[in-house]
């Protein structure tokens, strides 16, 4: 009904934009997708609709923008109240789901990013931190899934979206570092879940190609190193 009114501003490489798109797919909501080019200057639309953070994703319902991926997922769950529910119904289960999603954004994703931008010398420490996070998530999965296929149980839920959206980048890291982050040996539950997640009907069309993402990752690293070098140059030339 409101389908023709729904727009998502995102990028193919953004895990955060992926969360929003998966949520809309789960609710069978059609939407217009507008791709922002991450390597070029930010579009007028992005700057106007998210002036505070200037980041994707942005969801539009009509002309009203909603920003911040996890907030958008809550919003989607609250507007389109048909099953399946993305958040659990019990308040304690909801609190647990929110806890782990917040953990992903506050701790796990920054650790992942540190590995991606790390120098040779930092890489080992950054990777160790990421792997600690993976162990925590393995435990969280066992607790939340209650023996079912997803964090959300039988269906994809809030934590599946929070963690699963990072899987492609995790695979990129595995490729770059030639280390396994998720494995049958060390994280059997997560390894099995990762396959279920990436092949799910609501996910597979927006799950990025890992080789393409790896190339993009290299470009981002180059951009980041250039910016870091420029910043270092300015700090050494001022008092």
């Amino acid at each position: 009904m409101a389908d023709s009114n729904v727009k998502v501003l995102g990028t193919w490489a953004s895990p955060f934009a992926m969360r929003v798109r998966i949520a809309l797919h789960l609710k069978s909501v059609g939407y217009e997708y507008v791709e922002e080019n991450l390597l070029e200057a930010k579009s007028e639309l992005l700057l106007k609709s998210n002036p505070v953070h200037k980041k994707v994703p942005v969801l539009f319902l009509g002309d009203k923008p909603v920003c911040e991926s996890l907030i958008i997922v809550h919003y989607i769950d609250e507007v389109w109240t048909s099953v399946p529910s993305i958040l659990p119904s019990d308040p304690y289960d909801r609190a647990e789901s929110r806890f782990w999603a917040a953990y992903v954004d506050d701790k796990f994703f920054p650790a992942l990013r540190r590995v991606l931008v790390s120098t040779e010398e930092d890489r080992k420490a950054a990777m160790a931190e990421l792997l600690e996070g993976v162990v925590l998530l393995e435990e969280a999965f066992r607790k939340l899934s209650k023996g079912k296929a997803f964090f959300g149980g039988d269906n994809l839920g809030y934590v599946d979206l929070a963690v699963g959206s990072l899987l492609a980048w995790i695979k990129v890291i595995e490729k770059f570092t030639e280390t396994e982050a998720l494995s049958e040996a060390k994280t059997p539950s997560l390894a099995a879940w990762a396959d279920c997640f990436s092949s799910h009907a609501a996910v597979k069309d927006v799950f990025p190609n890992v080789d393409k993402l790896a190339d993009f990752g290299l470009k981002l690293r180059a951009k980041f190193s250039k910016a870091a070098a420029a910043a270092a140059a300015t700090t050494t030339t001022t008092d």
Binding site: V66, V79, Y92
Partner: protein, 237 residues
């Protein structure tokens, strides 16, 4: 399955704005609870380490056999369990998203920038930090206008989620104003927020848990000297 039965305890400290959020929410819902204070200089308690092993931080809400961490998650939990009493989150999805957005902004951007004023070294750095905080307050003043729609609080006629998320920082904001000599909330740039702050602090759900500015300022000085003492290796444990 959402039962409000079971003992309710908040594990926290008197000076933490995040802990205050949990207590205000329980007060709004008229939920009797016990406040268990962490002793700040004695290392983290067993109870804290067991109930929040991932972050090892306050606040923790203990409700029967459940433990819930992260202040904004706790506030939402309280709102959902004690669902008959006044609602803390707005009822409309878009208003809820807006309240959540600004609460996240406060935690990720604004409060760190305010803490940055106290930690800034040198006049230039301090001025830059103050500038950041003031910019944020201008944004929040606008947000207040949109959310309150002419009523006294972000939540409307009563304190709501965003009032709690922001109001908990008022003690520290006043300490910062006192120590820097700068009026961050003022009639020129943030007239609505200035008025809101008075209303918030005098609300029944808030006034007994908002620390006195003097006490907080003394506490701030004590932390600063410990931090500086530790940095120069002369701190006493």
């Amino acid at each position: 399955m959402a039962s409000s039965d079971g003992e309710v305890k908040v594990l926290g400290t008197w000076s933490s704005p995040f802990v205050m959020r949990a207590r205000i929410a329980l007060n709004l819902k008229s939920v009797n609870h016990e406040f268990l204070q962490e002793r700040l200089w004695e290392g983290k308690s067993q109870l804290l380490l067991q109930s929040n092993p991932v972050h090892k931080k306050v606040p923790v809400l203990i409700h029967g056999h459940h433990t819930i961490s992260e202040s904004l998650i706790i506030v939402q939990y309280i709102d959902e369990v004690w669902s008959s009493a006044p609602s803390i989150l707005p009822s409309q999805p878009l208003e809820r998203a807006t309240a959540r957005f600004w609460a996240a902004y406060l935690d990720e951007k604004w409060f760190p920038s305010m803490r940055g004023i106290g930690m800034a070294e040198g006049e230039d750095a301090r001025r830059a930090a103050v500038g950041q905080v003031e910019e944020g307050l201008v944004l929040l003043e606008e947000a207040f206008g949109e959310c309150s729609k002419g009523r006294p609080f972000f939540g409307g006629d009563r304190i709501g989620y965003l009032d709690i998320a922001f109001g908990c920082f008022l003690g520290w904001l006043r300490v910062t104003e006192k120590m820097s000599g700068i009026r961050l909330l003022n009639e020129t740039k943030t007239p609505q927020l200035l008025k809101w702050a008075h209303g918030f602090c005098s609300d029944d759900a808030v006034k007994d848990v908002m620390p006195e500015t003097e006490k907080l300022a003394e506490f701030a000085k004590m932390i600063m000297s410990r931090v500086k003492g530790a940095a120069t290796g002369t701190g006493k444990s």
